[in-house]
Point group: C2
Chain length 469, copies 2
């Protein structure tokens, strides 16, 4: 009987997964292979896989296939943060500096690095696009660019944003030297020294540094590892804040992604009070699910959302090509860009515009997502295997980062010092908050190609943690 | 007799110059030609030219030859400014915006443009350097660069600064996305909202905009068209200011160049009070005399001078390659750069480093200086010929800019509106001050190759000015 057949196959595979003969992150045989191996129809094979998917044992990736996604017991989701008001103190600044500068040492397995490895980037094609740009541009790109940014680039960004049903046009977009540069202009435009802004918690440390440098106070909002900020907490602080800055999709470091309903609600709450929402959507294109999550910008009717992005995490960190669609703040953002940097680097902007044409970017992204998703599953499997029982871990549905919560006894700043001696760098949790919290947490990046070397280093890291218990 | 012979030749040439058979900016026959034409010795020919030079009728340019530099009567040096405290008002911001955006219209003769024309740039060689950079760099320049900036570039900048006997090393230099970006980081590092800074008057309008955006108050110091700021005026404001920002060499727009003794004195005065001097030395390499003027940085012993420069006015505006040697503020400047822009564009920095190697830059600068000097003389001649009597004009010994003072009855903001209809853009004097002054002044750039088209436009501009009288 067909029914028995598909269940039998599904049960066999489920056994293999639970016994870790098939490990989390492993690719399953294709449906076609299953058909020929078991002599069954495509329909039966599909039913078997759907059965495994419904049990949460495997997941499908469009145009790629099926992967084991079994979460072994003991890997819970990290705790929701409960932050209060605080300041970026010097010891944390030192910790950030120490971790940051260690990234220059390529002999280290840099689990603290938040960018994809060169092997994952289309470098040859970018070189071609760069040479083409010198041929296309007036003065081969030696001329100052239009302050708002390269028109081709802005057009390509607008077109690419169709992937989340955006109606943005090139006129609404301003190019910048990467996302941090966009956030800097956005904060300088919407806030003044002494103002308070609301952010996620944990939050990307550079956002804390930027806010400090601009003399801004920061309120960290309790943030769920899967759903993002608690909307009730945001509501409470509305009277206090002048702007809100959120990494809405696959937040760094937590990996959280706000559900659509939350995004809609947040935009509504903020726009009613005329509070600008600076949205860092740097990771939105690196989704592991079926389609790109929409950014908050999708729900922006009042023009109060400043949507920011770049190709720094997907194509070329060193090209410094980013952008913002700043709604009603457009003219002010252009002015900030003009007075702080005159214009963007002409030639790299044109090169990225050229690369984005003809669906080339989407092809590249498909591969990148596949790799990163597979990496995230491999990391999860290895951590489950090597780290102490009770370790909690985020379930990112996109991006580059895992957030790991260890036993309360572990101080990850100390763990950093021990691990770096073994040529492993981690990002201690304390870097991602103004509060005295997350001392037992760390961020691990899976942006490098999965190798046995990394597996070994994760095993070693697990051993080092066990020794601290 | 030899003496009579050289005087006779000198007098003949002097007559031709005064009768404008030889016009200001024209190149004189070479010494060799004079020898063969008049059948005289090289010694006699040299004496004749020295005689003319001593009378201020011609000037010599190293490795280029002799040029007519006769200043017809009626062309006086512009007046020294006497500014008070004031704010950048909206109508001036609008004027700046209007002039700035007109620069995108290439059908206009852009006498308001402050950069060299493409024809004066070594574009083919830069393209080669760019391609080479993609071959040399790890990841072809897709990787983030070291935050302090490309090491090769910093080394080349340090070496190039030997031209003013600098002892700077690569470790003391931080690269930036152009000079304005360096000034922005320098001001953000040394001042806080509400602080007062001292600048020249007239002053480059973007400096006024930058100061306003950072919430700084600006004191304009009386500035001599040839010698720069009045040191007595600086002394008086020392107790009020938190930083001083000077364009020490060939100031934009005035063309003034502080004498060495003034530079030394200013550095002494400021460093005694521990007041940082932000030095914009953007034009220092574009000198018309025999050697490069030293910057104030040369006299900096306390590490309080933040020397800023770039290749934006000499090689590639659109590459966004600049730098600062910020003395004791180095770590803070690097931090500012990190949080506002992460790093510079990797590939254009490496390309400029490559171009700077092997004396290529010095060769290019020699040609550029020759062209610009000749242009400045042609402009001066044309203005003497076409503009009303009583017109005053600066005598820049370097840079790209002429400062022209017209009759008090002329409002150059109105002249702008009239001239732009005739496809000529000028930069009205009011753009360069917070005060209600310089309304009868304008800045004209001679960064474009001299053509009869430009001569005609200057004639037309003279006619328009006459009509306003």
């Amino acid at each position: 009987m067909k029914e028995h057949l598909y269940l039998k196959i599904a049960n066999t595979l489920a056994e293999q997964i639970k016994n870790e003969l098939l490990k989390t992150g492993d690719k399953l045989p294709s449906l076609r292979t299953i058909c020929s191996e078991h002599g069954i129809s495509m329909n039966t094979a599909t039913q078997a896989y759907l059965e495994l998917e419904s049990k949460g044992l495997i997941i499908s990736r469009p145009q790629s296939g099926f992967y084991v996604s079994y979460k072994p017991s003991g890997l819970q989701v990290p705790t929701v943060s409960k932050p209060a008001e605080a300041h970026l103190n010097e010891s944390v600044e030192k910790l950030i500096g120490k971790v940051f500068y260690s990234l220059n040492d390529t002999s280290v397995t840099r689990l603290a690095l938040g960018i994809p490895e060169n092997e994952l980037l289309p470098i040859a094609k970018l070189n071609k696009a760069l040479v083409k740009a010198t041929r296309t541009l007036a003065g081969s790109g030696t001329e100052y660019e239009n302050v708002q940014g390269n028109l081709n680039l802005r057009r390509q960004i607008a077109q690419h944003s169709f992937s989340w049903n955006s109606k943005l046009t090139e006129n609404e977009i301003v190019s910048t030297a990467g996302t941090m540069n966009a956030l800097s202009f956005a904060l300088m435009t919407t806030t003044q020294k002494g103002d308070t802004i609301a952010v996620e918690s944990p939050v990307y440390f550079a956002i804390l540094q930027l806010a400090k440098s601009l003399g801004l106070k920061v309120l960290e909002l309790p943030t769920h590892p899967i759903y993002g900020i608690e909307i009730g907490a945001l509501k409470k602080v509305l009277p206090k804040i002048k702007a809100c800055l959120l990494v809405s999709n696959f937040n760094n470091p937590l990996g959280s992604c706000m559900p659509d309903e939350h995004k809609k609600e947040v935009v509504k709450l903020l726009s009613e009070k005329n509070i600008p929402l600076i949205e860092d959507d740097l990771y939105g294109d690196v989704y592991f699910g079926k389609s790109r999550p929409v950014p908050c910008k999708f729900y922006d009717e009042a023009g109060t959302v400043l949507w920011c992005g770049s190709v720094s995490k997907t194509l070329a960190p060193g090209y410094r090509v980013g952008w913002t669609a700043p709604g009603k703040f457009k003219d002010k953002i252009i002015h900030q860009k003009l007075i702080h940097s005159v214009s963007s680097t002409t030639v790299t902007q044109e090169a990225i515009a050229g690369f984005l044409e003809n669906g080339r970017y989407e092809n590249h992204l498909r591969n990148l997502r596949k790799h990163l998703h597979s990496n995230s599953l491999q990391f999860t499997r290895a951590i489950a295997e090597y780290f102490p029982e009770g370790t909690k871990i985020s379930h990112p549905q996109g991006g580059f980062m895992l957030w790991v919560e260890l036993d309360k006894k572990i101080n990850t700043a100390e763990l950093y010092d021990i691990a770096i001696k073994h040529k492993i760098s981690i990002a201690p949790g304390r870097m991602f908050t103004l509060q005295n919290q997350f001392n037992n947490c760390m961020r691990l990046s899976y942006g490098q190609k999965w190798t046995w070397e990394i597996d070994n280093k994760l095993r070693l890291l697990g051993k080092l943690i066990n020794q601290l218990l």
